[in-house]
């Protein structure tokens, strides 16, 4: 699943149908179950009461890990729990430490402190002493040391899905057991953020050396050990008594039940078989609150949109800036938010706004080419030599049912406003993904960016630089290349914000990635759950799972 947390399918459409039917049953006739503005808070502060130990926390999950080897996948299926079995060098704040969802202050995880050299090419991490690997074969609880970090980072660089990130490392020194010195090929002030990404977990070298891969055993230093992993049934995590953060975690067991059907997941929450759940729309949240009025709800606000219209901008007609601008101006994004996402959605932007401004962007922040102005769009397209429009194609995979409506709205808008005929092809996931990442397609695609990334470097340089293997939107803009490189060399937070803003302004101006509206969703918790709120870009049921080490249950 490349981008979203929610990989929905036709089955989910049925869920919505059922939700509609059950809405009628619960709400009774004559009442609408939609809400334009969410009545729920966007943050659930940490509990002030002393935490209680014990209990079994359960969640019905849509995702199954394809493999449990973190070198070979960045799937949310894996990282919904690997962040609990394993640690990183540094991390983002947990729910009970954060001052709100947008708090991205780095905290030490297995590293107690870290410092960059003056030119930001060398990063030194001082490790926490006395950390032990879990008491499982073949590691058997030995001490975690600097050589483990060196080994892991080298393995990540050697092969697998994180190779591009770790290949920027030129060499690693371990001057003593608790010091790791990382030499980068080029300066990067954001390197600590990159190793704080939820996917940059540290694994035990003995497992890889003995098994040749990490597909069968998972041994880390985290708060939970992997007790059971039965594909398509359940994942059971058990409290690690040797966890370095004494007294934590609070919950004895965390059980993730594989539940591919959305209606079943909701039913599991309603009947108490699941302690928390994510739902997409206000009507679904309201519906569950009708039958479970004690439910705590967090309105989740996305800080970016993972999907947008990707154009083959390296070839005609989309290599003409006027054509890209015309298309962007011919699409009514607000209509999509209002109709497809019941008003609870974002207009769509690619770089998390929290890195360059304090409040979510509004339509005017996007500049002139992102406003819905069909007449001006038509004029631009005429100037570009297409007064009668043209024909093109668009392929997509339906990650969630609303996406098909979005694709069709784009098709309608382009036909109505620009006389552009868009032939839509809906593909299955593997066909779509294979074609999309090959980056040789013509016309348009409903493109994505990966869902796991929190850091600014990942969201800019990694996804937009012309040489990056993750530059799926085929951005090839020297200004963007310069800005994203400059950003990596800028340590000052205020300057970083200014550069990030320039990057997004450039992106809007050149219509390099045409982001589309996306939903926000809601996290629903049983009333006994404490310290479980989701942070921006880190949903506690997904890549933000490490925060569950601080969760406890008042029952």
């Amino acid at each position: 699943m490349p981008a979203p947390y929610s990989r929905l399918n036709r089955r989910d459409f049925v869920r919505l149908s059922a939700a509609g039917v059950s809405a009628a049953a619960v709400l009774g006739p004559g009442r609408r179950a939609t809400a334009a503005a969410s009545p729920y808070p966007d943050w659930l502060p940490a509990s002030s009461k002393p935490p209680k130990r014990g209990g079994v926390m359960t969640r019905a999950s849509a995702w199954d890990p394809p493999v449990i080897d973190p070198r070979h996948t960045q799937s949310v299926g894996l990282f919904q729990f690997v962040g609990l079995t394993s640690n990183r060098l540094v991390r983002y704040p947990f729910t009970d430490e954060a001052n709100g969802p947008a708090d991205l202050t780095l905290k030490g995880d297995l590293a107690e402190s870290w410092q960059g050299s003056a030119d930001f090419r060398v990063w030194t991490f001082k490790l926490r002493q006395g950390v032990k690997w879990q008491n499982l074969a073949p590691v058997n609880g030995r001490e975690f040391v600097a050589a483990d970090v060196k080994y892991c980072f080298e393995q990540y660089a050697k092969e697998g899905v994180q190779a591009f990130t770790f290949q920027e490392i030129e060499g690693i020194e371990t001057p003593d057991k608790y010091t790791v010195r990382v030499h980068l090929k080029t300066p990067n002030t954001l390197f600590p953020q990159n190793v704080a990404e939820p996917v940059a977990v540290l694994f035990a070298r003995e497992v890889l050396e003995e098994d040749g891969d990490l597909k069968k055993r998972l041994v880390g230093t985290g708060p939970y050990t992997l007790k059971e992993h039965t594909r398509k049934v359940r994942i059971v995590l058990q409290r690690n008594p040797d966890y370095y953060d004494k007294g934590r975690p609070y919950v004895d067991e965390y059980v993730i039940l594989s539940t591919p059907d959305a209606a079943t997941r909701q039913a599991a929450f309603r009947t108490g078989q699941a302690d928390f759940i994510w739902v997409a729309s206000p009507s679904e949240a309201e519906l569950i609150r009708k039958t479970n009025p004690q439910t705590m709800v967090q309105a989740y606000h996305n800080t970016l949109a993972p999907f947008g219209v990707a154009l083959a901008q390296d070839r005609p007609p989309f290599n003409d800036l006027r054509v890209r601008r015309a298309i962007s101006m011919a699409i009514d994004r607000q209509k999509m938010v209002d109709t497809v996402f019941e008003g609870h959605g974002i207009l769509g932007w690619g770089v998390p706004y929290i890195y360059y401004q304090d409040t979510p962007p509004t339509a005017k922040d996007f500049g002139p080419w992102w406003q819905y102005k069909p007449a001006e769009a038509k004029k631009l397209l005429t100037d570009a030599g297409h007064p009668n429009g043209f024909s093109t194609t668009l392929f997509y995979y339906e990650y969630f049912p609303q996406m098909t409506s979005q694709v069709q709205l784009v098709q309608q808008d382009l036909k109505k406003n620009l006389n552009i005929d868009v032939r839509i092809t809906k593909l299955d996931y593997t066909s779509y993904y294979g074609r999309y990442v090959e980056s040789k397609w013509d016309g348009m695609s409903w493109g994505f960016q990966s869902g796991h990334a929190v850091g600014l470097d990942e969201r800019t340089y990694m996804y937009m630089h012309s040489k990056s293997t993750k530059n799926f939107f085929r951005v090839n803009d020297s200004v963007i290349d310069d800005l994203t490189t400059k950003l990596r060399r800028t340590p000052d937070r205020a300057e970083q914000r200014a550069i990030a803003k320039k990057i997004v302004d450039r992106e809007y101006d050149q219509v390099l990635r045409m982001w589309m509206p996306y939903d926000n969703g809601f996290l629903l918790f049983q009333p006994h759950m404490r310290n479980v709120a989701a942070g921006a870009l880190r949903r506690s049921d997904g890549y933000g799972s490490p925060t569950l080490a601080r969760t406890w249950m008042e029952k």
Binding site: M1, V26, S75, E159, D261, T264, Q266, T430
Partner: protein
């Protein structure tokens, strides 16, 4: 009889070979491969890296070599490993097949238990209120697809009764009660659909047989109605019913895909669908062949049942 069975078994060989060729070709025609699907989780892999992984998985070999290797694995009853999870396929099947068999068997029992009595009642009380109710139920069963019925059942069970079957499969041997709780509702959903066609067929054949001379003779002899219907009429009416039940086995297996997904049961259906989506060639091919072999065998069993039901039928 033995010769007939032998001939049918020999005829199954080209059928299975043809099936193997079709499924092998279809999987290769579909764009993308397992590696694409796996990497789809990340999107951060260079061309050289992809080529290396593809080679490691044997996906770079010519098709005829891949087909030959797979065929040999099937013949030697060692279907190999999943290229997606690396789990031996035999192990996956050992986990999934009993579950699907249990679900299908329960569904079949529920379907027959509903269909045959309702069909007989409908036939013996033709055009009465109970006949109309039975027919409406049958038409409903034909009209409601499993995905709709399953979703409604689970949603309304949660809303009205605050109960759904426990999620997280456990085998019958681990906990019989929990296992039954998990299977009864999905089996009822499947069985309800299965019962519809069977009930209609039972009704029409029983109606037909009830008009036969020998049944009239039985009535004339003063036999009890229950004996006339169940002993004399029903057994002779069952051949078309058995045929339709046999024909529905394929539909039943297809239905398990949906029902297993809704009720979170890790059976053959989910295994196959996931393997198709992730282009896990060996798993899909093995599963399809297993289903094909099962259907061939069951068809043979159905044919042999005719002879048991009607002693006049002889195979030579």
């Amino acid at each position: 009889m033995q010769k007939y069975v032998m001939r049918r078994l020999l005829l199954a060989i080209p059928v299975l070979l043809l099936s193997s060729l079709i499924v092998f070709a279809l999987m290769r025609v579909m764009p993308g491969d397992a590696l694409t699907a796996l990497m789809g989780e990340s999107g951060n892999v260079g061309e050289r890296e992809l080529a290396k992984l593809r080679k490691d998985l044997g996906l770079d070999r010519p098709y005829y070599q891949q087909y030959g290797l797979w065929l040999w694995q099937m013949v030697s009853l060692n279907p190999g490993h999943s290229i997606f999870t690396n789990e031996p396929i035999a192990v996956s099947l050992k986990k999934a097949v009993p579950l699907t068999l249990e679900l299908a068997a329960l569904a079949m029992v529920i379907g027959i238990v509903i269909a045959v009595p309702v069909g007989v009642i409908s036939a013996t009380r033709q055009d009465s209120a109970s006949d109309y109710v039975g027919r409406v139920v049958a038409v409903s069963g034909l009209s409601f697809p499993e995905f709709w019925l399953g979703t409604l059942v689970i949603t309304f069970a949660a809303i009205w009764f605050h109960w759904i079957p426990p999620i997280g499969y456990v085998s019958f041997w681990e906990s019989p009660w929990r296992n039954l709780q998990q299977f009864l509702i999905p089996a009822a959903v499947l069985g309800f659909r299965l019962s519809a066609a069977t009930m209609r067929m039972t009704r029409s054949t029983v109606l037909e047989v009830l008009r036969e001379d020998y049944v009239r003779t039985a009535w004339a002899k003063g036999l009890e109605g229950r004996i006339v219907v169940y002993k004399h009429a029903l057994k002779n009416a069952l051949i078309p019913v058995v045929t339709i039940i046999g024909g529905q086995l394929g539909v039943l297996l297809a239905g398990t895909v949906v029902v297993e997904t809704i009720f979170a049961l890790p059976g053959m259906g989910r295994l196959t669908v996931e393997a198709i989506l992730f282009r896990d060639y060996p798993v899909v091919q093995t599963n399809v062949m297993l289903v094909a072999a099962t259907l061939v065998t069951l068809n043979l069993v159905v044919d042999l049942t005719y002879a048991w039901l009607d002693p006049r039928i002889r195979y030579s």
